[in-house]
C-alpha cells in the first residue's frame, strides 16, 4: 500500500500576467503514496489549483519531473496524457461541471462514452453507482432539477466511474451549504478508505484538518505540512 504513486521533483510553473511573471509553482517537491488523503490549503493565488492541475495532467510544468506510478509523465504526448487522465485520475470541481442537457445518468456515463466502453457495460456500471450513491430515483433528472448536493454526488459518481486511482477535488464544497458539504466530504472520505488517493484543495480550515496530510502553500511554495490523526 505504501508505494509512491505521485512524485514531484522541483516542479516550477510560471505564468506571464501582463508585465509580471507569476510563480504559480516554485520548486515544489511532493511525494504521495497510494491511498493518501491530502488537503491543500493557502490563500488565493498561492498555487493550490495549479498544483492540482499539474498533478491532473491538465497543465505542464516548465521545469522539474513528475512521476506517476514510476512513469515520467511530463514528457508524454497530449494523447498519452489524455489516456492517463481517463484511466487514472478523477476530477471534482467546485461548480460541478455537469453537462446541462444530459440527465444525471448520462452525465455519469459520459467518461465511459468518451472511452468507447460498450453500452451494456456502461448501463450496468451506471446503475450500480446510482444505487450506491442513492441517486437511483434521480437518474433521469437534468442537473437543473437536482439540488447542489445531488449535483456534486453525480459529479463524484462521474469522476469515479472509470475506477481511477486518484481523486482531485478543487473546493468540492465551495458551492454547497454546510450540511450538503459535510455529506460530500463523507462520500469522498469513504472512497479514500477504499483505496483511492484523495487530494482536496480548500479554503476551509476545518475541512483541511480532516485530511491525514495537510499542506499549506504560499507564493507557489509548500510552506508546511501537518500530519493529522486520521479522523474516524
Amino acid at each position: 500500500m505504501n508505494e509512491t504513486q505521485i512524485q514531484l521533483d522541483n516542479i516550477t510553473r510560471t505564468y506571464q500576467v501582463g508585465e509580471e511573471k507569476v510563480h504559480a509553482l516554485d520548486n515544489v517537491n511532493l511525494r504521495i503514496e497510494a491511498g493518501d488523503y491530502l488537503s491543500i490549503m493557502g490563500p488565493s493565488g498561492s498555487g493550490k489549483s495549479t498544483l492540482l492541475n499539474v498533478i491532473g495532467l491538465l497543465d505542464r510544468p516548465d521545469t522539474g519531473n513528475y512521476f506517476l506510478n514510476d512513469t515520467a509523465v511530463t514528457s508524454l504526448t497530449e494523447e498519452q496524457q489524455a489516456k492517463i487522465r481517463q484511466q487514472t485520475i478523477g476530477f471534482i470541481f467546485q461548480s460541478f461541471h455537469l453537462v446541462p442537457r444530459l440527465t444525471a445518468a448520462e452525465n455519469i456515463e459520459l467518461p465511459m462514452l468518451l472511452a468507447g466502453i460498450a453500452p451494456t457495460e456502461r448501463k450496468q456500471r451506471v446503475e450500480k453507482v446510482l444505487h450506491n450513491t442513492g441517486l437511483s430515483d434521480r437518474a433521469n433528472h437534468r442537473p437543473d432539477q437536482l439540488s447542489g448536493g445531488q449535483r456534486q454526488r453525480v459529479a463524484i459518481a462521474r469522476a469515479t466511474i472509470m475506477q481511477p486511482q486518484i481523486l482531485l477535488a478543487d473546493e468540492p464544497t465551495g458551492n454547497l451549504d454546510r450540511k450538503s458539504g459535510e455529506e460530500i466530504i463523507e462520500v469522498l472520505e469513504t472512497l479514500n478508505t477504499q483505496g483511492i488517493s484523495l487530494l482536496i484543495v480548500t479554503h476551509d480550515p476545518e475541512l483541511g484538518r480532516r485530511a491525514s496530510r495537510e499542506i499549506k502553500m504560499i507564493d507557489g511554495k509548500i510552506q508546511s505540512e501537518l500530519h493529522n490523526k486520521q479522523s474516524p
Binding site: N53, G56, L58, D59, E78, E79, A82, K83, I84, R85, Q86, Q87, F91, F93, S95, H97, V99, R101, L102, L110, P111, L113, L114, A115, G116, A118, P119, R158, M162
Partner: protein, 399 residues
C-alpha cells in the same frame, strides 16, 4: 468513442438547440434545393435540345462550301472558293456506304395558291431528302427522281402552308406560284412541329435546281449525306474528300459530322447547366457561412464543457471530431432536406409547366449531398480547431 455513441452525442447537441439547428439546416437546404432545381432545369433543357437535334437520326454528314482554314498569302485570284454544285452531290451518291444525298438551297419567298398568299421558307431539296431526315409526306408523293439539272416544277407543301393556303381543300394537283414561278403540288409533308423556334411545317419543298434559279444562286448551301449505319465514319469522310477534291482540285469545302455538331452543342449546354448550378451555389455558400456562424457560437457556449471533456480524458482530436461531426451532421441533414425540396420542386415545376423540361439525374443528387457534407466539413474546421486548441484550465474556469 463508438460510432453509434458519437452520432447520438452530436445529434443530441443539435436537438438541444432545436430552433437554431433547424434554421441553420434550412440555410443549407435552400442552397442545395436551389442547386438541384436549377441544374435540373438546365439538364432538362440540355436533354430537350439534344433530343430535338438528334431526332433526324444520326449517320448524317454535312458538306459546306469554303473552309475555316487559313491559307498563306492573301492572293485573291487563287483563294476563290468554288461553290458546291449539283454535280458534287451526284458524285457523292457513287460512294458505296452512302445511302442518300440531299443538296440544299434555302430561301424565303412569297407563295401564292388558292387565291391566298403566304411568305414562307422555301427549301430546295433533292428527291432523297425524306430518307436523310426521316421526314416523309403524309399525302401524295415527294419530289420525283428527275433530271437534277432541269427537274419538273413540282412542290411538296409543309402541313402548315397547306392549312393556310388550302384549308380543307385537297391541294394535290393544284398549281401554286412561288416568287412568280408556277409549281404543281404533288404532296404534303407530315406535321413535325417546331424545332428550336424553326417551324418545319411552315415551308415548301421544291427541287434544288429550281430553288437555285429562284434565288439566283450559283452554288449549294449544303450537301447532306446519310451513310449506312455501322459504317466507319472516317472512311466515309475520306471517300467524300477524295471525290470532292477530284472535282474541285483542292479542299475548299468543310465536312462536319452530326456527332461533331452535337458535341459542340453538348459542350455549350454543359456550360449552361454549370452556370445555373453556380448561381445556386451562391446560396449554398451563404448556407455554409450560416453553419460556420452557428458552430462558432456553439463552441463559445460550450467552452466549459470542452474543458470538462478534456479533464475526463478526451484528447484534442476527439474534441475536434465532436464539433466537426456536429457541423457535418447539420449540413448533411440540411442537404437531405434540400434534396427533397429541390427534386420535389423540379417535379412540381415539370407538372405545372409541361413546356419547361426538367430532369434530375441521380448523379446530381449524390453530388449535391456530397457538396453539403463537404461544406459542413469546411465550415466546421475552423470552430472545431478552436475548440480542440482551447486550454483546458482556462476552459474549465469559464462558467
Amino acid at each position: 468513442m463508438l460510432l453509434k455513441d458519437f452520432i447520438k452525442l452530436t445529434l443530441f447537441s443539435l436537438i438541444s438547440h432545436r430552433m437554431r439547428s433547424i434554421l441553420t439546416a434550412v440555410g443549407i437546404a435552400i442552397g442545395i434545393a436551389a442547386v438541384v432545381l436549377l441544374t435540373s432545369i438546365g439538364e432538362g433543357l440540355h436533354q430537350y435540345v439534344m433530343g430535338e437535334f438528334s431526332q433526324f437520326g444520326s449517320n448524317i454528314i454535312s458538306v459546306q462550301p469554303g473552309t475555316t482554314q487559313t491559307h498563306g498569302g492573301n492572293v485573291a485570284a487563287l483563294s476563290t472558293t468554288r461553290p458546291l454544285a449539283l454535280e458534287d452531290g451526284e458524285a457523292l451518291k457513287k460512294i458505296p456506304q452512302i445511302v442518300a444525298v440531299n443538296s440544299v438551297v434555302q430561301g424565303n419567298a412569297e407563295v401564292e395558291g388558292n387565291a391566298r398568299q403566304r411568305r414562307t421558307t422555301i427549301y430546295g431539296v433533292g428527291p432523297q431528302s425524306p430518307i436523310v431526315f426521316e421526314f416523309y409526306p403524309a399525302i401524295g408523293k415527294f419530289l420525283p427522281d428527275d433530271n437534277t439539272a432541269s427537274p419538273r416544277p413540282y412542290a411538296v407543301l409543309g402541313s402548315k402552308v397547306r392549312d393556310e393556303l388550302f384549308g380543307d381543300i385537297n391541294p394535290l394537283g393544284k398549281l401554286i406560284r412561288i416568287g412568280g414561278n408556277r409549281f404543281r403540288v404533288i404532296g404534303v409533308m407530315e406535321s413535325k412541329g417546331q424545332i428550336l423556334g424553326i417551324d418545319l411545317d411552315d415551308s415548301v419543298n421544291i427541287p434544288t435546281a429550281r430553288a437555285m434559279e429562284l434565288f439566283n444562286r450559283n452554288g449549294l448551301m449544303e450537301i447532306q449525306v446519310k451513310y449506312t449505319p455501322g459504317a466507319n465514319v472516317d472512311e466515309v469522310i475520306a471517300s467524300m474528300k477524295r471525290v470532292l477534291i477530284a472535282k474541285h482540285g483542292r479542299e475548299d469545302f468543310t465536312i462536319v459530322t452530326q456527332d461533331q455538331m452535337l458535341e459542340v452543342l453538348n459542350s455549350i449546354l454543359n456550360v449552361l447547366t454549370f452556370a445555373v448550378g453556380a448561381l445556386g451555389g451562391i446560396s449554398l455558400f451563404v448556407g455554409g457561412i450560416g453553419v460556420l456562424t452557428i458552430m462558432s457560437i456553439a463552441v463559445n457556449e460550450r467552452v466549459s464543457e470542452i474543458g470538462l471533456f478534456r479533464a475526463l480524458g478526451a484528447p484534442k482530436n476527439q474534441i475536434l471530431l465532436i464539433f466537426l461531426g456536429e457541423a457535418v451532421l447539420l449540413s448533411a441533414l440540411g442537404g437531405m432536406f434540400g434534396l427533397l425540396l429541390g427534386v420535389g420542386g423540379a417535379q412540381l415545376l415539370g407538372f405545372a409547366i409541361p413546356a419547361l423540361p426538367v430532369y434530375t439525374p441521380w448523379s446530381f443528387v449524390f453530388f449535391a449531398e456530397a457538396t453539403a457534407i463537404l461544406i459542413g466539413l469546411l465550415a466546421g474546421v475552423l470552430p472545431a480547431r478552436r475548440a480542440a486548441n482551447l486550454d483546458p484550465i482556462d476552459a474549465l474556469r469559464t462558467e
